[in-house]
Symmetry: C2
Subunit: 193 residues, 2 copies
DNA sequence: CTAAAAAAAGGTCATTTGACCTTAATTTCT
DNA sequence: AGAAATTAAGGTCAAATGACCTTTTTTTAG
């Protein structure tokens, strides 16, 4: 429902009801089945995406078919390949649905016009982008320096709600370790507790 | 010299000479000796930094003393811990000088006022930040998915000029591999060529 | 509800990687 | 220029990791 999105905006911003309505009036509703793609690498990321319900992921694929996950986007978050969206150039990433999902989409043209018409929205969007950049940095540091145990522990702490919703192979793909190693880590934890 | 900075702005932007002068007039000059810190983790990143000459790095330290490098900043680039700078909160990273370096610094207050007074500058700054975000993403994907060989090859391709200026242990720290592994990769390359 | 598909878990093994140590080469600094 | 410090490189070894395969369990979709 669009209502869920409007509630989200009311909760997270101090936008007026008129502004909120203007924003949602330009949204396109879309559903994705499990495993359905929003776009594939080589295609242009043409929309801003808000996840009403469900769970998306953005990931890169290695030649041998390995999937390396950059980010999960559960309900009430946004997703996009910023590089492809901003420049309207082919993406090197894929986005698909881990669970059946309901989305709101805005074309870049529409969203850009909203950003100029509603400075509050622009500010809010910038905050989201900044937060994403910060967490991306922290994630890079973890990827460079942490052991598999630490990476997994970090994931559990950071995304406790996602744990039960994701196949372990995707968590492994997010952490940059093999499923085998992830299983070993989890086994070791069971023994310890 | 401040001239180097002004030339950089003339080259990279279409800012007026008056604007450029206004920007550089608020800059604080600072020199860093080799290995000298700009700030350490726990401190707040209080300045925007432009590197006139030399080479800085931003890195995180693990409890055992391991250094994991997020980014190198050679001459005519900027550096900062954005999270600490934006929020003026303690940083979890360190910045120090790999080579003796000449810097220009702006306090956040000064730079913020420049950003509001000079919309062009704001646009330019946003472009730089975006570019950084995009490359950070790509870097994360590499960190998650690439073999040591591929990581090193990628580094050589991306930063050919830095190769000869950095101790190998720092390149290892940037790639997230041990010095031993880096040496092995380089040995293998010598044989192949 | 049931058949089919996907996921988890476990076993085995070869390889990679890093830890630790030593030696040689290079660089820095006074 | 010369002493001290840093860096590179190499040897050895144990541990960690991933590849590959099988079996069992769970989930999905018709």
């Amino acid at each position: 429902m669009i209502t869920a999105f409007e509630n989200y905006l009311r909760q997270e911003t101090s936008l007026s009801d008129a502004d909120i309505h203007q924003i949602s009036s330009l949204a396109i509703r879309r559903k994705l089945r499990r495993n359905e793609f929003l776009f594939r690498e080589g295609e242009v990321c043409r929309h801003k995406v808000f996840v009403i319900s469900g769970l998306l992921r953005i990931f890169g694929m290695t030649p041998d078919g390995g999937e390396h996950i950059l980010q999960f986007s559960p309900e009430t978050t946004w997703t996009i390949d910023a590089e492809s969206y901003d420049r309207q150039t082919p993406s090197i990433y894929n986005i698909d649905a881990v669970e059946p999902s309901e989305l709101l989409l805005w074309t870049k043209a529409d969203f850009d016009s909203l950003l100029t018409r509603i400075p509050q929205l622009k500010k809010f969007a910038e905050q989201l982008i900044s937060g994403n950049t910060y967490s991306g940095r922290r994630r890079l540091l973890t990827a460079l320096s942490a052991t598999p145990e630490q990476k997994y522990e970090d994931f559990v702490q950071t995304f406790p709600r996602l744990l039960s919703r994701l196949p372990l192979r995707m968590i492994a793909g997010y952490l940059g370790i093999s499923l085998k190693t992830l299983n070993r880590v989890r086994q070791a934890q069971l023994l310890r507790s």
